[in-house]
């Protein structure tokens, strides 16, 4: 509605009449974090509405709300000017909202056709019409210029083909609004071209597209309107032809300096860890880790930056011994590392603080102390029995050293805040007396105060000659904390920066290598 009030600024992107879907003042609170904070988002008919932001900016949460998977804590959604309530994915489907999810949501045990028509089977007299389904599936797949047998089991397809099936599945519905969350992450350049052609056809039919991607050049090529999220807030909305890549990066990254955490200068020791040609093949072709080589010095904090799925977590998993199928050579202190299992690797001196604290870091049913001691139980044995005095001493010492705030060591782990839980995971690692500490997103989901404490612990450990690998998606944190930063993209290292020359633009640029629209990159590996 046009407002006569002179106080209001004129909207930069006007013409409200072609808005088909509008999310207004959406707030979504998860326990511990605010994923979306008063976000408004307009979706225009027959246009490609682009949504961008860093990892964790809230894009996927917003899309899940529009697809009926999550419900907003506050705010409303208008479709054609009428408020709608989406309580399930089915509601969204019935209103003509389709979604292509970032992580593939397909059933590997069903055929391509069955996947495309899941929950909207073509039936006659209640029986599935296999012939017409197959016919239609073949049409959809050939519209996407693919040669995929509709009878093939989905699980036997390579990832890129599965992505095509996911797209075909969305096209099989009669959609008015189609959400595409990173649809091109597994596609080759030629396949991306085909997808763009299909998108243009859909636009011509008046379908509104919501398009999420990290590939900024690609967005300028296909997008009409660009909305940028940062830290759960909407920071900018602009027509695509008026903007360029540096503008988008600036808006995504923001300009507030990281004042809360700083790195302490310290001398670095000898090379502690040397990794050569670490390779992890991916089921379905290509590499999760593509011949990664690097070294790490004593007392060094080495940051790893990259987009989601770039292979950073897989890298630390490999070093921790969690991926026995990985190949490559590793030296620790000049000695080749032969340990292949996790427990042997821990004995050698590697310890991982995993990305998903709740699932992989902690046993929810156990107390703070039991969690902390889990990886180093053999240190508290006398004969075959655990000595509770030794256990208690070890736990108390860690609680003091890492200043973990607990009433007692016997408290259930679930009673602790995210930050303190994370410190328990770090303590568990420290008790194994490691040489190399692998921290995978150690600050995810914890508040700023706890973050700075974790960073202080990292600084102290590095000063005590521990070598730290620090994986993070938070640009500011990685820039502030790392002595050196390696950037990964599609399983390969695509950039190396010292603390002095690293800046946000360089890291973002390096993390997008191999993602460009005209670049097939190392999609299928090199060898």
């Amino acid at each position: 509605m046009p407002s006569p009030s002179p106080v209001l600024k004129i909207e930069p992107v006007a013409a409200a009449d072609d808005v088909i879907l509008s999310a207004q003042n959406i707030t979504k609170v998860f326990p511990g974090t605010v994923a979306l904070d008063d976000v408004s988002f307009q979706v225009r008919k027959g246009k490609v509405n682009v949504l961008i932001g860093e990892n964790g900016a809230g894009k996927s949460t917003l899309m899940k709300i529009l697809a009926g998977v999550e419900r907003p804590t506050a705010g409303k959604i208008l479709l054609d000017g009428r408020e709608i309530h989406l309580n399930s994915p089915l509601d969204a489907t019935q209103l003509g909202i389709g979604i292509i999810y970032q992580e593939l949501n397909l059933c590997a045990n069903l055929s391509v056709t069955d996947n495309i028509f899941l929950a909207r089977e073509i039936t006659r007299n209640g029986l599935i019409e296999y012939k017409s389904q197959k016919q239609r599936a073949r049409e959809l797949v050939s519209k996407l210029e693919q040669k995929i047998d509709p009878d093939q089991l989905l699980g036997d397809l390579r990832i890129g083909e599965q992505q095509i099936v996911e797209i075909a599945k969305a096209l099989a519905q009669d959609v008015r609004i189609l959400i595409m969350d990173e649809p091109t992450s597994a596609l080759s350049a030629a396949e991306v071209e085909v997808l763009f052609r299909v998108i243009r056809e859909l636009k011509a039919d008046g379908v509104a597209i919501i398009y999420i991607s990290h590939k900024l050049e690609e967005l300028l090529q296909i997008g009409d309107y660009i909305t940028i999220l940062r830290d759960g807030r909407m920071v900018a909305e602009e027509q695509a032809q008026k903007v360029n890549v540096p503008w988008m990066i600036e808006k995504m990254v923001g300009r507030n300096p990281a004042a809360l955490f700083t790195r302490k200068e310290r001398p670095l020791g000898e090379v502690m860890l040397k990794v050569e040609n670490l390779t992890l093949p991916r089921l379905g072709g290509g590499y999760t880790l593509d011949h990664v080589s690097f070294d790490l010095r004593e007392g060094e904090i080495l940051g790893f930056y990259g987009l989601m799925g770039a292979g950073r977590s897989d890298l630390v998993d490999c070093l921790a011994g969690a991926r026995p199928q990985a190949t490559g050579k590793t030296w620790l202190n000049g000695e080749p590392v032969s340990a292949t299992t996790i427990s042997e690797r821990i004995k050698t001196g590697f310890v991982l603080v995993p990305e998903d604290r709740q699932r992989y870091g902690l046993v929810q049913a156990l107390s703070v102390m039991d969690n902390m001691l889990l990886a180093s139980l053999k240190n508290y044995l006398r004969g075959a029995f655990l000595v509770s005095k030794r256990e208690k001493a070890a736990a108390d010492q860690q609680i003091k050293e890492l200043s973990i705030r607990v009433a007692s060591a016997q408290q259930p782990i679930t009673a602790l805040s995210g930050g303190n839980q994370q410190k328990v995971v770090v303590a568990k690692g420290m008790l194994t007396r490691p040489k190399i500490l692998l921290l995978d997103e150690p600050t995810r989901g914890i508040d700023v105060g706890a973050k700075s404490e974790i960073f202080e612990i990292m600084n102290r450990l590095a000063a005590h000659k521990y070598s730290v690998i620090f994986v993070s998606s938070e640009l500011k944190e990685i820039l502030a904390m790392s002595d050196r930063i390696l950037v990964m993209s599609k399983g390969a290292i695509t950039g190396e920066f010292s603390h002095q020359d690293a800046n946000e633009e360089k890291l973002v640029a390096a993390s997008a290598i191999g993602h460009g629209p005209a670049n097939t990159g190392n999609h299928n590996g090199k060898g």
Partner: protein, 354 residues
């Protein structure tokens, strides 16, 4: 239409033959046990004996078919044996004692067909209730059905204070005679229970292969989240699946009570385990999403033939258990080997394409 897949090799390779044998392993095992027992005892392949085997298998197969639906969704139903007992006792009570309504001073004796309808409905509702508990309160199927395993067995005992309902023939003046026909009656010389098994197997086959419901069952077992996000009504489908299992249990309860012309509270004891064994032998994956009704039928026959055959050969009942148990575990090991081989072949194919 152009051929979609490149045929890299046209000749039959060793791995093709291996795959073929592994896929048909349940059927091969069935033929094998039949051949072995026919060789060991000439009485094995007589019409009489085959009819006995079929009658035995019919009961197991009916339960196993219901169980197949449940296991395809990645669940399990431990309550079927107890529900068999409970429904047998319900039917027995309705025939011998009727429905007592003291406040009106009357006892209602329903007709036999009504007793059958009431029993089947009750069994189905029991299953639906379990499914509701599983989906509404997010209880693990193992726990929910373990609970019903105890509850239904308890109810079976409570219905006649632990005693049997004997002589379930009804009385002509009440119009509730003829219950025993279900167990002993023949059509075209074949026992009703066998017809029921074949009929229900056909229905189940159509449900799993031709109905959207069947697709949804497989989808839930394969990737529940993906199914939900595609718009499959996961909770409803699961409740239906447990209802089917409950229906099968009720049917078996009626057949068993009718065959014995009596209802004992321990009827159906441990039937859930033979049903699970048949499903697993038939190649259905306990983690869900993979398997078939046909496989389950074959699995039920393998167990049936094995049991009857071992008895006829004179193997002690203790050895029978040892052998049956070993066969089940062996079947699952072969299952895992096949799955790994298939994965390798799929990887190999992709390598070939590149």
């Amino acid at each position: 239409m152009k051929s979609v897949q490149m045929k890299t090799k046209s000749r039959i390779t060793k791995s093709d033959v291996q795959q073929y044998l592994l896929r048909g392993r349940a059927f091969i095992a069935l033929i094998l046990v039949v051949v072995v027992f026919s060789y060991l005892t000439p009485a094995f392949l007589t019409t009489e004996n085959i009819v006995i085997i079929f009658k035995q298998v019919a009961i197991r197969a009916l339960l196993a078919i219901g169980m197949t639906f449940v296991i395809l969704t990645g669940g399990i139903d431990l309550s079927v044996g107890s529900v068999v007992g409970m429904i047998a006792m319900v039917a027995g009570g309705l025939i011998n004692q009727g429905i007592n309504l003291p406040q009106f001073g009357v006892i209602i004796y329903p007709h036999t067909w009504m007793i059958i309808v009431i029993s089947l409905a009750l069994g189905t509702l029991t299953g639906a209730f379990v499914g509701f508990i599983i989906t509404r309160f997010n209880v693990a199927p193992f726990i929910a059905t373990l609970g019903m395993f105890y509850v239904a067995r308890g109810v079976a005992g409570l219905l006649n204070n632990g005693y049997t309902f004997p002589n379930l023939v009804g009385r002509a003046e009440y119009g509730n005679t003829g219950f025993e026909i279900l167990g002993s009656g023949n059509f075209l010389g074949i026992n009703y229970s066998i017809w029921l098994m074949m009929g229900f197997a056909l229905v189940a086959y159509i449900m799993t292969t031709r109905l959207p419901f069947g697709r949804h069952v497989y989808a839930i077992g394969g990737n529940e989240l993906a199914a939900e996000l595609s718009g499959v009504r996961v909770a409803r489908t699961k409740i239906l699946v447990y209802s089917i299992s409950g229906f099968c249990s009720a049917l078996v309860g009626l057949i068993v009570a009718s065959q014995l012309v009596a209802a004992h509270p321990m009827t159906g004891d441990a039937y859930e385990l033979t049903a699970i064994a048949a499903v697993v032998l038939g190649g259905t994956s306990l983690s869900g999403g993979r398997g078939s009704i046909g496989g389950t039928l074959i699995g039920a026959f393998v167990i049936g033939v094995l049991n009857t055959g071992l008895v006829m050969v004179g193997v002690s009942s203790f050895w029978q258990k040892v052998i049956t148990g070993s066969v089940i575990v062996l079947a699952v090991i072969i299952d895992q080997v096949q799955a790994r081989m298939q994965e390798q072949i799929a990887l190999q194919k992709q390598q070939d394409i590149k």
